[in-house]
């Protein structure tokens, strides 16, 4: 009976921890670009309610041949884009991927981006968590 109770309690403990590391993927969207364009960008807000920092290390999608993580920066009126190895999502905090800054970079689009259409994205985190979410084109 004791062992049974301990097992039950441990299970709850694991469940509670799992719940705490559930990252929230909020409003993911993809920029509609001219059909002739080979590139597009995706944006999303990621919340990390856990007590540990985590990194977004990849995004998988069949929208393009390659998906990378990039950032933009305006330096003296000049827009510069660079690849980043990962995006930090701080503990009890969030990462905001938005126009003009951090973004998901879709390289060599396999499909046209059409307003209102949805594409499946898989967000991969440094702790091995994978979350699938639909992103709308707008």
């Amino acid at each position: 009976m004791k062992i049974f109770l301990i097992t039950i309690l441990l299970s709850f403990g694991v469940m509670a921890e799992d719940y705490e590391t559930n990252y929230e993927i909020l409003n993911p969207w993809i920029r509609e670009v001219p059909p002739v364009s080979k590139m597009s960008a995706g944006f999303v807000k990621i919340k990390n309610p856990s007590k540990k920092d985590v990194k977004l290390v990849a995004v998988n999608s069949d929208l393009s041949k390659t998906v990378e993580l990039h950032t933009h920066g305006m330096v003296d009126g000049v827009m510069k884009m660079r690849k980043v190895p990962h995006i930090n999502v701080p503990a009890m905090g969030e990462a905001n991927l938005k126009p003009g800054g951090l973004h998901i970079m879709f390289i060599n689009l396999k499909k046209k981006t059409i307003e209102g259409e949805k594409h499946n994205l898989e967000f991969v985190f440094s702790d091995g968590t994978k979350i699938k979410k639909e992103a709308v084109v707008k």
Binding site: P34, S37, M39, T66, H72, M81, P99, M105
Partner: protein
């Protein structure tokens, strides 16, 4: 002596009427889908120039869609006096056909231009536009293009009139356009 002074005054007075920006900007010729496109050939209209590249995933489409949105504030007659021009500085990857298709996605009357390396370097120098083809290490993109993000307004005579980094919700931008249309 008085004569000399009078001549000097006349010279100064006539200088005042000239473009205060002097040689900044000016005429140029680049490749369009339909052949050579020369700025002065569209004199009589107000031109809006924006420099970018079609592999630009965010800033260029964002800027052009904002421009399209802001131009909706103009009435039909005013809008017909405007020629928006998108110039790709990515002379290695972009063709006049690609740039035109890219530009007209935003509006049918958007003009898309590009050119050879020397032509692009010349026009960007004229307008004080910075651009650099920058290798992106470990990226499938190969290289990106760092570029000035700015809208240049050209008056009906083909002279540089003003420039704006932000057009969305910028009343001064529409005010300036209306002023140039009325000139």
């Amino acid at each position: 002596m008085i004569r000399v002074l009078l001549v000097c005054c006349l010279v100064l007075f006539s200088c005042k009427k000239e473009n205060p920006y002097g040689d900044f900007g000016g005429d140029f010729s680049l490749a369009s889908q339909k052949g050579k496109w020369k700025l002065s050939d569209s004199n009589g209209k107000v031109r809006i120039l924006y420099f970018g590249f079609t592999h630009c995933p965010d800033i260029c489409p964002l800027s052009l869609s904002k421009l399209k949105r802001e131009l909706k504030q103009l009435n039909e007659k005013e809008r017909a006096q405007i020629v928006p021009v998108f110039i790709s500085v990515d002379y290695k990857r972009d063709t006049p056909d690609t740039v035109q298709k890219y530009a007209e996605f935003f509006s049918d009357d958007f003009v898309g231009l590009t050119g050879k390396e020397d032509e692009i370097k010349k026009v960007t120098k004229q307008y004080g536009v910075f651009f650099a083809l920058t290798p992106l290490k470990d990226s499938e993109m190969g290289y990106t293009v760092d570029h000035t993000s700015r809208f240049f307004l050209i008056n009906k005579k083909g002279e540089y009139a003003n420039s704006f980094s932000k057009v969305q919700g910028n009343e001064d931008f529409i005010k300036e356009l209306r002023k140039l249309i009325g000139e």
